[in-house]
Every structure is written in structure tokens, then in C-alpha cells.
Symmetry: none
Subunit: 257 residues, 2 copies
């Protein structure tokens, strides 16, 4: 299902990953955004790794990474590959941020061509020979004094930007599902809102809230402003009416038992 | 150094975090982007936790999280707080993406006011009472079929968007010029807002507003929600205090001539 939704997925290629935790966390992060094309090149502790499965929180029940024995084999079907590295090298290469990389990846995707994001091993990163084979570098801008990111977290940031740049293809997202919950919460007409505010002002006036007649129009405007700015729902407006009634003792209720 | 670089930092507030790993990974992710205002509310296994330190890859040698015994205490000095939750609730609240949240946070930052991103515990997330006290919800749009994100990864995505939105601080863009008009309109701290809402609830309780003890917590939550959602200014909050005083006859003023 995820492949269908995302169209052509990016591949995430981990070169010689050392820690099962990171492979699992990476798989989880990928599936969070609907991706499942994970490729492992010579994982240090072999494959499969039960611990990685545990750390994937179920993601590795949904898909199985492909394991390769060389960088070249892992990337051979890809069209646009980017090396993730924080370091500057002695090579001249285009440098992308996660955001600009995702935009460039779109150009390939529009041609039905596949992008791969390549990550080196936790301790030493990518080798110069590997970087040289990539079309560009992705650098995640970080705090210069504490720049070393966790591998799975770096993967997450990059695929999230990719997801953001590509998600609009199929807008049946959970975000908008969430807003449906709001549908039952109707908003009052401006007339209903005005009725409330006028009522409030009247009650205040009865209680000598407005010190002078000069200041009254300004205060009234401020009170209108307070309640107008906010998208009160019908239900909330009823609550406010109830609050005013209670505070003014006009509709005091029996004490709760 | 990071504080200077980032100006006013966002606070990351973890409510009852369960796993030391997540606290450590969260600290590491924060410091990767120069942030160090980490607040823990009742961490399940107490504090400090040696395992969290290990997992922070050195970040927790650079800063120490503050530990609080309640939600209210942890957020009281903050001005704009957002609840991170994937779930739809029975409350009407503004919904932000990490990106739109970071832009809204900029408005506060330009007034030298502080944003807090609030995260619930790994298993159950935030409580409705806690969400009600936030000015909005952040939802990270994910794969609807596999939406549960790791806590530290959710923190990372949100602070990374915050970082991206704020790193060019020195670029005093015309966008922000428009907001200067707001400069006199400071926003209240969450403590000040809370004081108002608690006062209102007390007045209502005295007047038997809550019909039953069962319904009281739900009504209280709704009242918190009404006032938390809206960006009340300091001045507006003073006006609301004045309104309550007038309506309850506690500080009645002389009738305007």
C-alpha cells in the first residue's frame, strides 16, 4: 500500500551499519512516512538481526530490507544518489540541504526515476570513493559545536523533507482526517457572537465597569476584539453565556452535591 | 554559546517520559540544533538516569534537564505552548504542522517570548487536561497505516523545523516588520493565564456553576481550552480580570457619570 501511495519511493541505503538499533529505528522512521525501500550494504552483524526487528516497533514486519555486498550493487538501479555527510571533502560536488535535495529529487521523480539517499557507517561515515560516485552531498546544518547526529535521526530528517516535498501527490492524509473531527463543532454566526458581547457589555455597564463615558467606546471595542479574534465554537459560546450567568448570579445553580 | 546563537530557545517538555533512551536521544537531537532547554515532568524512572546520559552521546554533559512535578510548573514561564499529539480529541484547537508551528513560534520569539513543545509519555501521550491548556496541537503528518513515531524522533522533527525557521534570525525580514506593531502587546506567561482561569473556575464554583462533581473536571477542561486556544495579550488578560471582578461585584466601580 505504501508504494502505491508514494509513487516512486526513495531508497535509503545504509553502508555497513553497525548497530541493530539504528537499522530498526531507521525502518520505523521510514514506514512512518510510508517508505519501505531500505537497502543494507554489508551490515556489520549480518542479517537478519532480531534486535533490529524489535527496535523497528513493527516496521520490519511490514517489509524486509534488501542486503547487498557492495555499494555499486546497492545503487545500480537508482538514478539520483546523494551522499549524506557532514564533512567537507576534497571533492567539488553540489551540496544540498535536505529540503533542496527533496526538490531536486522531484525532478527525477517526474521522470519516473528513482532517488537514493546514501548513509555511511556510524563511526566513520562514507568513504571518499563512495562519495565520489554520488551526484551530490546532503549536509544537515547543525550546531557546529555538537554536530554528530544519530544515524536513524539523520535518515528521519532527510526522508521527512522528501515526504513533505512529495506528499501532495495523494492528499488523503491523516492530518486532514483529523480536521473532520471539527466538523461537528459549528461556529456561531457573527450575530450570535455579537449578542453575547453586547450582553456582556450590558452586564458590565450595570456594574459600573466603564469609568467614564469617554472611555466606554474604547473599552467596548476592546471587548469585542477579544472575543472576535478567536474562533469560538457554538459550544464554547454557550459556555461563555453560562459563565456570565453564573458570575452575575442570574442563573445560579444548586451547589454540586 | 548555543543560547546566544539561537536567541530565545524553545523549551522541550517531556511529560512522564518512560525510557531513558528516549530522554538521551532527545537531548542529543536538541543539542545537534543548539537547543538545551529540556524539561522533564515526573520521569518514570526518576532523575538522573545514567543510561540516558550514555544515549545522549555527550549532550547531557553539556546541559542538565530541569525536573518538575507538574505540567503547570513546567510551563509556567512559557508564552506559547503546543501539544504534540496525533490523536483527534473532543476539543477544538488550532492544528499546526511542525512547519506552521515554527512560523507561529516566530511571532512570539520576535517579542522575546518563549515557545514550548509538549510531548506526552511514550505509551499514552498527553492527557486531555494537558492538551486543553495548550494554545494548539502539532500533528506530524505520517503514514496513516503506521503512524506511531518514536518520541525522540518526533522531538527531532519539530525542533528541526523550528531551527530552520529561526536560524536566519539576523535576516530581519520585512515579514517580521509588520509585527512590530504588536510589540507593546506582550503575551502573558502560562502561569498568568492559568491564574486567571483558576480564579474564574473558583468564582464559578462558589456560584454552583458545576452541576455535579462528575461533570466538573470536564467543564474545567473546557474552560481552560477556551482561554488557552486564543492568543490573549497581557492587556486583554487584564481586561478579562476586570470583567470577572465587575461581574462578581468584587471590584465594582462607580457608575460612569
Amino acid at each position: 500500500m505504501t508504494r502505491k501511495k508514494q509513487g516512486i519511493q526513495p531508497a535509503i541505503v545504509l553502508i555497513e551499519p553497525q548497530l541493530a538499533e539504528n537499522i530498526g529505528a531507521c525502518a520505523r522512521a521510514m514506514l512512518n512516512f510510508g517508505y519501505s525501500d531500505l537497502r543494507l550494504v554489508n551490515p556489520r552483524d549480518g542479517w537478519p538481526q532480531p534486535h533490529a526487528k524489535t527496535l523497528s516497533a513493527g516496521a520490519l514486519d511490514h517489509f524486509t530490507p534488501e542486503v547487498f555486498d557492495s555499494f555499486d550493487a546497492a545503487v545500480e538501479d537508482l538514478h539520483f544518489i546523494l551522499a549524506t555527510t557532514a564533512r567537507t571533502r576534497e571533492m567539488t560536488k553540489p551540496i544540498y540541504s535536505p529540503h533542496s535535495a527533496s526538490e531536486k529529487a522531484s525532478e527525477y521523480k517526474n521522470l519516473e526515476q528513482k532517488t537514493g539517499y546514501i548513509f555511511g557507517c556510524e563511526r566513520t561515515g562514507l568513504r571518499n570513493e563512495e562519495i565520489a560516485k554520488c551526484q551530490g552531498i546532503i549536509t544537515i546544518e547543525t550546531n557546529a559545536d555538537f554536530s554528530s547526529m544519530n544515524l536513524a535521526q539523520a535518515v528521519l530528517l532527510i526522508i521527512y523533507q522528501h515526504f513533505l516535498a512529495h506528499k501532495d501527490e495523494d492528499l488523503e492524509t491523516s492530518l486532514f482526517m483529523g480536521l473532520k473531527a471539527l466538523e461537528d463543532n459549528k461556529y456561531p454566526t457573527r450575530k450570535d457572537l455579537n449578542t453575547f458581547v453586547e450582553r456582556l457589555i450590558e452586564e458590565l455597564d450595570e456594574r459600573h465597569f466603564f469609568r467614564t463615558q469617554e472611555i466606554k467606546p474604547i473599552m467596548e471595542r476592546n471587548i469585542h476584539n477579544i472575543f472576535a479574534n478567536y474562533d469560538l465554537t457554538d459550544q464554547e459560546l454557550r459556555t461563555l453565556h453560562g459563565i456570565v450567568s453564573a458570575l452575575t448570579g442570574k442563573k445560579g445553580r444548586k451547589k454540586a452535591p
